[in-house]
Homo-oligomer: 331 residues x 2
């Protein structure tokens, strides 16, 4: 069973995944891992993944057989285990609990070489719908407090499989960064009686210096204090706290701006490695009043070095205004 | 002039280094940059760096000429500028100030292929002494609140030059991670009337599960909640809040355990890329009562991916107890 351990100074939790138990020799060829060969996510290899928990099959058919356009399966090498209780315990100055959680993989297409920029818009919309369906299902488990949705694209962004996919992890705690964002948004709200994200959107739409793209319901911006070159945030223009509570008829516009922003990055940066993460208020509770869900796209063009690790202080060599201009003028 | 910009939600500052101004095409060959060819840090190339601010020359001789064993020079491409005032200003919801600070490079050896593991112990001691001398000097500038000392070793850890060096950055603010550590240590002290690091050291010396190495005055441990595989912290056994106030006669033991720990990593992991960062209480103030300086060594064997970026929650595939056993048994 993996362990959740708490840093006694920072209060930050870490997953120590004892079962993966990597030894020194396991790391030496990390960078050179081949991406060719057999792919467990391709159509026809359904028996090489754990049984699916969700799939879209336009023409029906039995589970775990070909004929799907999207599948969600438990991760074969999960960071956390779905079985068991948390069993919180202390050991002197230290605190730990069992690594209970869910770790799922969203296989976005049956075809090995398609990506979110090449797929039809409907397929991107289905990816967002799959996220929502899985979040709603996982939040029914009372052991979980938060579900994080993220995508790693390209080896430099941490993707270990080439086939287009994203991941969900359900956690027994609200993670530190999420709590800090909630606290920051709450403080602003208490001071101004307004949502900080709504104020950011209003200022960006007025100044137009950092807009990348927009449609009726969403806007894509290069954030004022971007940590990474060509970072982009996609936000609903109207106030919505929780991704999983998005109106069903908003999904196509959300998919459109996501695909459009990724296509602009592809054109300007030539298939850059990136992570994206959905930032959303936790399910239930009153956080949705002052928090505003959004999707952060973080291209991985530079490496984090000692300064960033030591300070949490990023150095970004590309001003967001310039990044936005490049991306706005693409296509 | 670079800008310091504040994230309006997280309160985190970012350096937007406008002068480096990297365009999309500048990123495409990032990973393949050659490390061969001319090296501005080698002996004989003193005129290829800005004039030195400190140098050790056992046999004397004029500045900026050969004959040195260690040099400190301003960074030729600084993240922050030494000239000017902060000029704090707002723009609607946003806050910024001028990127005023100092950015220096400690050239640890005149020889291109030496490293902290191959140099004589005296040279490693001189590196620590140079850090101290520069911190003390920089803290005389009232615009600065904190000096961070760090080292990037290997391209995967963000080193852009192969020649062994480390860096100092003096900042006009106390960075977020440092403030969080100070707050965490202060809370513990207020609750227990003891330093959390002293308690950690006592427990580790008793349990002996995560000790890597020790000498009379220092101990090297694999921290209980390590974020990275084979992470190591070096701490003075007795309570000392501030690195720059270390007793002069402690430097040789500090150098010994640093070199010993890095040599063990070299043997177990075969010249791993790593960052190290000195964590110290700010200069002046009362933080030294509850904070305990230490040096964190972070091998870069895995890549940070979307999950870590979105949550601040790390997945570490090697239990610290196993890492410590490998490192303890090395040599």
């Amino acid at each position: 069973m993996p362990e959740l351990r708490k840093d006694p100074i920072l209060g930050r939790w870490v997953i120590i995944s004892t079962e993966r138990g990597r030894r020194p020799s396991d790391f030496s060829h990390e960078e050179r891992r081949s991406s060719g060969g057999f792919c467990p996510l391709c159509e026809g290899n359904e028996d090489k993944t754990p049984p699916e928990v969700l799939a879209f099959r336009a023409n029906g058919g039995p589970p775990n057989t070909p004929g799907w356009s999207l599948r969600v399966v438990p991760n074969k090498f999960p960071a956390l285990r779905i079985e068991g209780e948390l069993n919180r315990e202390g050991d002197g100055v230290y605190d730990k609990m069992n690594g209970v959680g869910a770790h799922e993989v969203v296989i976005e297409t049956p075809l090995h070489h398609e990506t979110l920029t090449s797929l039809p818009l409907k397929a991107v919309e289905d990816v967002l719908r799959a996220y929502r369906a899985r979040i709603v299902d996982l939040m029914g488990d009372r052991r979980f407090q938060y579900v994080i949705v993220f995508k790693n694209h390209g080896p430099a962004a941490g993707a270990s499989l080439e086939h287009s996919h994203s991941q969900l992890i359900a956690l027994p705690i609200v993670p530190k960064t999420v709590r800090e964002e909630l606290n920051g948004a709450k403080e602003y709200f208490e001071y101004k009686d307004r949502c900080v994200f709504c104020d950011i959107i209003a200022q960006e739409l007025k100044q137009k210096k950092r807009i990348i793209s927009e449609n009726d319901r969403f806007v894509s911006i290069a954030p004022f204090a971007s940590s990474f070159p060509f970072e982009a945030w996609i936000l609903p223009k109207a106030h919505h706290g929780n991704f999983a509570l998005m109106e069903p008829f908003h999904f196509s516009e959300a998919a459109q701006i996501l695909q459009d922003t990724l296509q602009r990055m592809d054109q300007v940066l030539v298939d850059p490695p990136y992570n994206y993460i959905i930032h959303s208020a936790p399910f239930g509770g009153a956080d949705g009043e002052y928090y505003h869900w959004h999707l952060e796209i973080l291209p991985k063009l530079t490496r984090m070095a000692g300064f960033e690790w030591g300070t949490g202080f990023f150095i970004n060599p590309t001003p967001p205004e310039e990044a936005a201009a490049y991306l706005r003028e693409a296509r």
